[in-house]
Structure formats: C-alpha cells, structure tokens
C-alpha cells in the first residue's frame, strides 16, 4: 500500500449507496479504438466509465463492441443521454440505456444549444423528475448553478454534475465560487463534468472539496492518452489530499518563513 492509499483508505466517492475508491470518472468517446479505451481506463484507475446509446449501423453492423473490451462486472458502465435536446428524447434514451446496460443509472444530459453544448436546465429538470420517479439513479449534467443544484437534489437525484467549462472546451475551471456554493448547497456528491483540459486542471477543482471529476476529451485528445490517464489519476488524488489537508490562508503581503531574530551581522 502506498502512502496516499493509507491516507485515503476510508475515503470513498459514494453515489446512491455504491462506494468507489477512485474519484475520477472517464468518458469513452473519441479514442483511437476500443483497445486504447481499455488501456486508458485501466491506467486512470477509474471505476466508472460513461458510454453513449446510438443506433446500430444496419448497413454495416459493427462486429466489434465496446462491451467486448470493458467488463461490466468490474466497472460501472454509466450511459449518457448525450445528443438529446428535450426531456422526452432524454427519457426515451434513458429507457433504452437501462435495457442496454442492465442497470438503472443514467448520466442525464439535455442540451440547450449546439454551439456551447450548455444544458437546458428546464428540460433536464423535467427529465430528472420523471426518471427519478421511474426508479432511475439520475446524475444530471447541469450548469454551475447552486440554486438549481439544490432543486435537483430535492427531487431525488443521486448526484449533481456541474460543468467547469463547456464540454470539449478544455478551458479548465472558470468559476470556482459557484462550485463552492454548490458544494455548500447540496449533500449529494458533486462531480465536476466537462471543461477539464489537462491533468493539471484537476487539483484546483478537487481542492474546492468537490467529490469527483469526469473527463473525456482531455484524455482522448492528449498526444499520449495513457500518460494523461496516469497524470489524471494522481492529479485527482493530489487535489483530494490537498482538500483534506486544508490549505493555508491567502495573504496580500509576505510573511517570513525563517526567524526574524538572531540574523547574523545585524546590530
């Protein structure tokens, strides 16, 4: 057991009663092939991987399947509703996802704008309400809005997944204060989804005290996705440990670290 494992041995990301050692969740989109997806997943230490639900290409039904590479008994395969623009589309997609995965978890995404891929909060809320009543474990992708985050918790969502920046933008954390407010407002896990550009973006986000990170494009578009996956694994651990350790206060002026008395050659 390594030092960080000792220090974090009782620290879990707990969603809907299920405990995960890793606070890093990865997406499976845009990798070179399924083999690379598998290698990145293993290197990242993530225990949850998101997937999308798409029509089988009838003229050329792919013989290879992502599920031939990722063992659903070892990893939680979390389907998303990416590409949905209304609550109705998202609900139907979630129903298909439940049948396809055999589990009732869904990363709910209802997009409101093609250019920014920002969520349509009203539609996301309607879909979440319905799906929670249908018995789903709903993890909604949301704007970094503390008021709405609380509303999603109140209707029974298992977590909230606010963005750090738009999907695929790689801009990193844009509004730390909103994430702090969200963390204060809700008791369900807060998983920061979207906007991470590199492993180095992760520690400042985790240090805010959020419960987890979801990233996809930053891995898939890295020159070396495996190295990035390893960096992200440790970046998530670093951020978590720094949060638990508690940072010193920020000051405007310097404070000497060495004694001010007894400096030689001074009168």
């Amino acid at each position: 057991m390594q030092d960080w494992e000792m220090l974090l041995q009782d620290d879990y990301l707990e969603i809907a009663g299920r405990k995960f050692k890793s606070r890093l969740i990865i997406g499976s989109g845009k990798f070179k092939d399924f083999q690379q997806t598998k290698e990145v997943l293993e290197a990242s230490g993530a225990e949850i991987i998101t997937v999308a639900v798409r029509r089988v290409n009838i003229t050329d039904p792919t013989k290879e399947n992502l599920l031939d590479y990722i063992d659903p008994n070892k990893y939680l395969i979390l389907p998303n509703t990416a590409g949905c623009y209304t609550a109705e589309e998202a609900i139907k997609t979630a129903m298909m996802a439940r049948e396809a995965t055999g589990i009732n978890w869904v990363k709910l995404e209802v997009i409101g704008d093609k250019k920014t891929l920002l969520p349509d909060m009203e539609e996301t809320y309607r879909a979440a309400k319905f799906l929670v009543k249908e018995g789903f474990v709903v993890l909604p992708y949301v704007f970094d809005d503390p008021v709405y985050a609380k509303k999603f918790e109140d209707i029974g969502c298992a977590a909230v997944m606010p963005l750090a920046a738009p999907i695929g933008s790689g801009l990193g954390l844009q509004n730390p204060y909103n994430l702090i407010f969200i963390k204060e407002a809700v008791s369900v896990p807060v998983i920061v989804d979207a906007g991470i550009g590199s492993a180095t973006d992760i520690p400042p986000v985790m240090e805010l005290g959020v419960d987890g990170i979801l990233t996809n494009t930053a891995l898939a578009e890295a020159k070396d996705p495996i190295k990035m996956a390893v960096a992200m694994k440790y970046a998530t651990i670093t951020g978590r440990l720094a949060y638990l350790a508690g940072r010193m206060p920020k000051r405007t002026y310097a404070v000497p670290s060495s004694p001010t008395k007894g400096v030689p050659f001074k009168n």
Binding site: G27, K30, F34, T50, A52, R54, R55, I58, L67
Partner: protein
Amino acid sequence: MPKVILNGEEKEIPREMTVMELLEEIGVKFREIGLAVAINEEVVPKSEYTTRKVKEGDKVEVVQLVGGG
C-alpha cells in the same frame, strides 16, 4: 412483404418475425449487455425477443452502447 421503419429508414422484411429473428436478418449479434430494441418507441425487454413480433408499419430502433462522454 411487410415494411418497417428500421433506425429511421424504410426496410422490407421477408415476413412478420420476432425481434430475435429480425436481429439475425440484419446481422446484429444478440448480447445481454450492450444492446436494446424499441418498437414504436416502447422498449422491448430481452425476455420478449423470441415472442414479440415485428409487424407491418412498426417503427423499430436497434441501439448499442458506443464510446461517449
């Protein structure tokens, strides 16, 4: 021959057939995890694949899990 709308496109099938037969007809391998079928926007549970018939005019969706964030 019955015509159905399969994944948004019109398709003739040789006869009315079960979901399982349709999957075979279109070359899609059955898998317990990773596949789902809906008929007229209702999900068909896998337990009904060998009994549920696909009929003239049905809107059939066959989906799989793919990479996504």
